[in-house]
C-alpha cells in the first residue's frame, strides 16, 4: 500500500533484464491505479465504513442509555412488585431513600414521611409473558402448518401462490392496523372487551405472516432426496413430513419462530387498544381479564409524565430490551449452529 505509483511502473529509464520483467511486483494492482481513480476508490471505501458507523452509533447510544438508566432501577423486587398507583408514585417521589438510590445528588427533604411503596413492574412482566406466550401458541402452529401446505402440498399451484402472495401483503400491514382490527371486531363488535387474550390475538395476527414465510424458507431447505427416500420406503406424505421433513428443519423453524416472538414482545401498537390496564401482579395473571405489557407500560409512563415515571420507564425498557435480545440471540445462535456447516 505504501509504494507509490512511480516506484513500480515498468517504463523506467534503465531497461530491466528479462528476469526482472517477468517478476510480477507484489503490489502490481495498486501500481496501475493512479491519481483520481485511486482517490475515488479510497473515498468510496471510507464512505461505506462511515455508513456502518452511522448505524452502529445509534445502537450503542440507545442500548447504552437504557443500560445506564435502567440498570439502576432493575432489581428482583422491581420485576416482581406491583406498579405503584399515581398517588403512591407521588409519595415515592418525596422519599429520599428511594430518590437517592437512583440519583445520588437528588435534593429532597429528609424529614418527609417515609413511603412504604416501592417501584415495580411485575404486572407488565407477567402480562408480557402471558400475551406473547398466548400469541405464540396461536400463531406458530398455524403458521408452520400453513408453511407445510405451501411447501409440501401446494408447491406451485395457484392456491399456494395466492396464499404466498397474501402472506407477503399481510407482512406489510402496519402493526397498528392489527390493533384496530382486533379492537373493532373482537373488543367492540363481539363485546369481548379488552383482555390479555385480545392483545395476544392482535400480536398473533402480526406474527403469523412472519412465521409462515420463515418456516416455508426452512422447509424449502430440506433436501428433496430425504422426502424421496422416505416415500420410497412407503411412507405417506404426512408421515414423511412429521418424521423426516420437520425434524430436519426444526432448528430453522425454532429460530424463525423465536424471532417472530421477539418482535411481538416488543410491539406496542397492536396492544394499545386491546389490553386495558392492570396494576397488580394478581390482576395481570389472567387470560380473559385486562392486563398490561412492558412496551405498553413504557408508552403510558412517558405520556403520563411525573417524577417517578421516567425511572420506571427506563427500568421497564431495560427489562424489555433484555428479554427481546435474549430471545433474538438464542434464535441467532440456533440458526448459526445449524446452518453454517
Amino acid at each position: 500500500m505504501t509504494a507509490t505509483a512511480t516506484d513500480t511502473t515498468i517504463d523506467s529509464a534503465a531497461e530491466p533484464s528479462v528476469a526482472d520483467r517477468l517478476r510480477v511486483p507484489s503490489d502490481v494492482r495498486i501500481s496501475t491505479i493512479k491519481g483520481g481513480r485511486f482517490v475515488r476508490n479510497k473515498v468510496a471505501t471510507a464512505t461505506m465504513v462511515l455508513a456502518f458507523v452511522l448505524a452502529a452509533v445509534p445502537l450503542l447510544f440507545v442500548v447504552g442509555n437504557v443500560v445506564k438508566e435502567g440498570g439502576r432501577v432493575v432489581s428482583w423486587s422491581f420485576l416482581t412488585n406491583d406498579i405503584p398507583t399515581k398517588a403512591a408514585g407521588d409519595e415515592l417521589s418525596s422519599n429520599c431513600d428511594v430518590l437517592r438510590r437512583y440519583d445520588p445528588t437528588a435534593e429532597c427533604d429528609d424529614a418527609a414521611p417515609k413511603a412504604q411503596t416501592t417501584l415495580g413492574m411485575g404486572p407488565a412482566v407477567v402480562g408480557t409473558l402471558i400475551t406473547t406466550g398466548l400469541s405464540a401458541l396461536m400463531a406458530i402452529p398455524l403458521g408452520i402448518l400453513a408453511a407445510i401446505y405451501l411447501n409440501e402440498y401446494g408447491k406451485k399451484n395457484r392456491l399456494a401462490g395466492f396464499i404466498r402472495f397474501m402472506t407477503d401483503v399481510m407482512t406489510g400491514v402496519p402493526s397498528i392496523v392489527m390493533g384496530i382490527f382486533v379492537y373493532t371486531l373482537w373488543v367492540s363488535q363481539f363485546g369481548q372487551g379488552r383482555s390479555a387474550l385480545a392483545a395476544s390475538l392482535a400480536l398473533a395476527c402480526l406474527m403469523l405472516p412472519i412465521v409462515v414465510r420463515s418456516s416455508e424458507e426452512m422447509l424449502r431447505l430440506v433436501p428433496n432426496a430425504l422426502r424421496e427416500g422416505s416415500a420410497a420406503l412407503g411412507s405417506r406424505t404426512w408421515k414423511t413430513t412429521m418424521k423426516v421433513v420437520l425434524p430436519t428443519a426444526l432448528p430453522g423453524l425454532v429460530s424463525g419462530s423465536m424471532l417472530a416472538v421477539a418482535r411481538a414482545a416488543g410491539e406496542t401498537a397492536p396492544v394499545l387498544f386491546t389490553i386495558g390496564a392492570a396494576n397488580t401482579v394478581a390482576a395481570a395473571t389472567t387470560v380473559t381479564g385486562q392486563s398490561t405489557t412492558l412496551s405498553f407500560q413504557i408508552y403510558n409512563l412517558i405520556t403520563a409524565g411525573g417524577s417517578v415515571s421516567p425511572k420506571m420507564a427506563w427500568g421497564a425498557a431495560f427489562t424489555l430490551i433484555a428479554l427481546v435480545l435474549i430471545l433474538t440471540s438464542i434464535a441467532r445462535a440456533i440458526s448459526a449452529r445449524f446452518t453454517m456447516r
Binding site: A146, I176, I180, L325
Partner: protein, 329 residues
C-alpha cells in the same frame, strides 16, 4: 445431517404398500395443512373487511373532504386527514432518504469490502438494531435527545433565519420533538430491513462478473459501480419500497417524537410539531366513538391501502427491472 429418523424397518412402513393403514391420518393432515393456509387468507380478508366496514361512515359522510382537507376538529365534526397524511409523507421521506444511502453503503461494505470477521460484526449490529423495540427508540428520544435537539434546532433556526428558502424548511422549533426528529428515528429503525434485503440482492451478483471487472483493472469502487449496482437495481428498488412501507406504518416511536399537533398543518418547517396517521390513531382511538371513531379507523384503512399499493408496485418494479436485465444477459 442432524438426527433424521428415516422410518426404515418400522413395521407400519413395511406394510404400508399392502394396506390402507394411515390413509385417514394422511388425509386429515392434508386438510389440516390446507385449512391453515386458507385461515391466513380468511384472517387477512377479515382484517380488510371489518376495518373498512367500521370506517365506511367516515368515507361516505365526509367523502372528498375527508381525504383532501386539513381541517381536523373532532369536537366540531370536522374530519380532514390530509394534515396527518402530510406528516406521514414528510417523515417517511426523511427516513427513507437518510436510510437508503446508508443501508446500501453498509450492505456494500458487508458484501464487497469487509473481511469475514467484520462481516459477522455488521450482521450482529444490524440484527440488534432490528430487535430494539419501537417504544425504546421513542423513550430514548423523548428523555435524552429532546433537550439537546431543541437547542440545536433553535441554533440552526436562528442561523438560517435570513436565508430565503432555508428559513421555511428549518423554521422556529418550539421543542426538540418535531417532524425532523421523527424522520431521523424512522431512518434508524428502517435501516436494518433495507440493509438485509440489499445484502441478499448483492449476494446474487455473479462472482464471474465481479472478478471479470477486477481483472480488467477496475478499482473496487468502479467494479461496484459498473457491475454490482446495475445488476441489483431491481432488488434495491424493492428494498427501498419495503423500507418506505415500514416507515409509514411505524407507530409508537413516531407518536412520541413527532410533537402531537392536534391539527397537523401542511408545513415545510421540519422543526415544527405535526402528527402522522398511525400516531393520530394511537393517541385517540381508545377514547373515540361514533363518527370520530370511524374517522380514526378510516385513517388506518387509508394507511393500509397506501402501504399495500407501495408493496404491490414494488413487486411490479422488481419484476420489470429483473426482466429487462435478464433480456440483456
Amino acid at each position: 445431517m442432524t438426527s433424521v429418523n428415516l422410518p426404515a424397518g418400522q413395521p407400519d412402513t413395511a406394510t404400508a404398500l399392502s394396506s390402507s393403514k394411515g390413509a385417514g391420518a394422511d388425509k386429515a393432515f392434508r386438510y389440516l395443512a390446507v385449512g391453515s393456509g386458507i385461515t391466513v387468507l380468511v384472517i387477512l380478508a377479515l382484517i380488510t373487511y371489518s376495518t373498512t366496514q367500521k370506517a365506511w361512515p367516515a368515507f361516505s359522510t365526509y367523502g372528498f373532504d375527508y381525504f383532501f382537507s386539513t381541517d381536523w376538529r373532532p369536537n366540531q365534526k370536522k374530519f380532514g386527514i390530509l394534515g396527518f397524511a402530510w406528516g406521514t409523507a414528510v417523515i417517511s421521506l426523511i427516513g427513507v432518504s437518510i436510510a437508503v444511502p446508508t443501508s446500501i453503503g453498509i450492505a456494500l461494505f458487508a458484501t464487497e469490502v469487509a473481511p469475514r470477521r467484520l462481516r459477522r460484526v455488521i450482521t450482529t449490529v444490524m440484527d440488534l438494531l432490528a430487535a430494539v423495540p419501537s417504544v425504546v427508540f421513542g423513550l430514548v428520544g423523548f428523555y435524552v435527545l429532546r433537550q439537546p435537539l431543541q437547542d440545536l434546532y433553535r441554533w440552526v433556526g436562528d442561523a438560517v433565519a435570513d436565508v430565503p428558502v432555508l428559513h421555511q424548511v428549518f423554521g422556529q422549533g418550539s421543542s426538540g420533538i418535531s417532524l425532523l426528529t421523527a424522520g431521523i428515528v424512522l431512518a434508524i429503525m428502517i435501516m436494518p430491513i433495507i440493509t438485509s434485503v440489499s445484502r441478499e440482492v448483492f449476494d446474487t451478483v455473479p462472482r464471474n462478473d465481479k472478478e471479470g471487472a477486477l481483472a480488467l483493472g477496475a478499482t473496487r469502487a468502479e467494479m461496484i459501480n459498473g457491475v454490482v449496482i446495475p445488476h441489483s437495481l431491481g432488488g434495491l428498488t424493492g428494498a427501498v419500497m419495503l423500507g418506505l412501507g415500514r416507515a409509514m406504518g411505524e407507530t409508537i416511536a413516531v407518536t412520541l417524537l413527532i410533537g402531537a399537533s392536534s391539527k397537523p398543518p401542511i408545513t415545510a418547517n421540519l422543526f415544527g410539531a405535526s402528527d402522522a396517521m398511525p400516531s393520530g390513531i394511537a393517541r385517540k382511538l381508545s377514547e373515540a366513538s361514533g363518527d370520530y371513531q370511524a374517522a380514526l379507523i378510516g385513517m388506518g384503512v387509508t394507511l393500509f391501502f397506501i402501504t399495500l399499493a407501495i408493496n404491490l408496485s414494488s413487486r411490479k418494479v422488481v419484476s420489470i427491472v429483473d426482466r429487462r436485465l435478464k433480456g440483456v444477459a
